[in-house]
Symmetry: C2
Subunit: 318 residues, 2 copies
């Protein structure tokens, strides 16, 4: 972030026509955006929503309430404008792009071998990197991929420790048997790749998925472009966690958009040191919770950049 | 609310391309708006923000961190477009109207006599009633009035019991001495009018203020017009609480937009049985927290009314 912009924005915040601190977290959000955008009065006029879709070998293990063909069906729904994220992107004035990553070639079952080869992981990271519009002023990264809460749980367990049971949740709605299968699959995956799990990028390659790697790539690119990122739910945060473990401060440009109803999302946010803006019980993915939080960020920036100062308005400072 | 619209909206919600319940609270919000608007697919295209301003006799008792002249100065700021609420209303596509209620004639000091005569209270209620645009599809009611957290605390204590200390907070930022003065003023007010406090409308008249009565009037009118209301902070909720105590179900058309940082707002929301949509530490008034929540409601309605069904999109239901 730009130190001068941070300082100027912070000074401006103290002069606006409100009691000190009365806009609560909106104040720190606006100053944070100012720092990343490098201007005293930030704007949020070109938010970009990026959705990555991938298929998973472990879907065949019965870890999801939905069949694997739903991934490609939902990509068609995104492209036709019928999904929740389409409505939210439109509602908050964001552009939206959907990237389907080789849906007809699922990753390998990670209980048997690494989910991706090195070339596959790099290609997926690169898809995410290339997807970011350098002219965007905010980026939301979302996903679709039947079985990917299981992959995300495996990544989280590998990066932060704990038992598989600590990280698996009901995803799109599995029953208790499905939940046990998820834990079993995660446990097997961790055991299979145990020698490689000290390296966050190997965690991503061995246990992740193409859409998860693409999300990591997009978040890293946004950082390089100094574009603030809004984190979505459990799976997006698993992608973010790879960067967090790979390089301290790698998520300084990211804010947690919401806390999902997926069981372990709160634990994952805590591991990332992020306090969510919203907690409304969403558990859909697609970037939906993060997109909803665009409204909060727009409100924060609108107040900061648009309000009159005490001097301009002729209001007594108390 | 319209029972048929509720039923149709609820059925529609179950057919949309998402796992059941995956949009969390957005689903119940959209169905609730559908019921009040009387249509299966609600819209939020004409939100109205109403700001009422009043002055208080008790301001002379040193209960605020700001001088009383700030009320009229902030009204000028609202009219010039420089306040936080102007930016938020614009950000979420709301119209905004400001009603200043006899600012040069503060209410009486309620520790000495009723804050308002019956005629004054009725005139203020009427101002609020008349301010609502029957064509609005959502209403946010906000306020400005130096010393009005003290009046709101007195109302809350009279309606729900408890000690003055349970209901007073730091408002715009009083120190510990100011906080003690607030509690003292509330205690004196409750003692002065003790015989009248069984009647919520007398509570409003004796301990309230013109802007608080106007808010009650506007919320009641919105109910009569079947327009959903978003509740703002502590003071707006005190105005709402008068209706709640006067008639069971009087706030069925209202949702809590946010929980403010003002100490007793959580307690007041609990007394109203309302779960806030946002909790971002705001404590500004002006309808600001409720206006921010318009974004959440717009997102909820956009998803509900715009998404494709499983059948329309050709997505498997799992």
């Amino acid at each position: 972030p730009d130190a001068e912009a941070l300082k100027a924005a912070s000074a401006r915040n103290g002069m606006l026509t409100k009691p000190p601190g009365a806009l609560g977290r909106l104040e720190e959000l606006a100053i944070w955006v100012a720092g990343w955008q490098g201007r005293e009065k930030p704007v949020l006029e070109r938010p970009q929503v990026l959705i990555f879709a991938g298929n998973h070998g472990i879907a065949a293990r019965g870890v999801s309430a939905f069949p694997a063909e739903v991934t490609v069906q939902m990509v068609a729904n995104f492209r036709a404008g019928g999904a929740a994220i389409n409505q939210l992107a439109k509602c908050f004035g964001a552009t939206m792009a959907v990237h389907a990553l080789e849906l007809d070639r699922p990753t390998a079952d990670f209980t048997q071998q690494p989910a991706m080869s090195e070339a596959e992981a790099v290609a997926a990271l690169r898809t995410g990197w290339d997807a970011v519009d350098p002219a965007a002023d905010l980026v939301v990264v979302g996903e679709m991929g039947i079985a990917n809460t299981t992959a995300a749980a495996a990544i989280a367990a590998a990066l932060f420790g704990g038992a598989a049971e600590d990280w698996v949740g009901r995803g799109t709605g599995v029953d208790n048997h499905g939940l046990k299968r998820k834990a079993q699959v995660v446990t097997e995956g961790l055991a299979r790749h145990t020698g490689l799990l000290g390296d966050p990028l190997q965690v991503l390659r061995c246990l992740g998925g193409r859409e998860i790697a693409a999300m990591s790539g997009a978040m890293a690119r946004a950082r390089a472009e100094r574009i603030p990122v809004v984190l979505d739910g459990f799976i997006a945060c698993a992608a973010a966690a790879v960067l967090h473990r790979a390089a301290p401060g790698a998520l300084d440009h990211a804010v947690a958009g919401h806390q999902s109803a997926e069981g372990a999302h709160g634990r994952l946010l805590a591991a990332l040191g992020k306090e969510p803006l919203l907690a409304l019980g969403l558990r859909l993915g697609e970037g939906s919770g993060a997109a909803l939080a665009i409204g909060v960020l727009k409100g924060a920036v609108a107040c900061h950049s648009g309000m009159a100062t005490f001097a301009e308005a002729g209001v007594s400072e108390g």
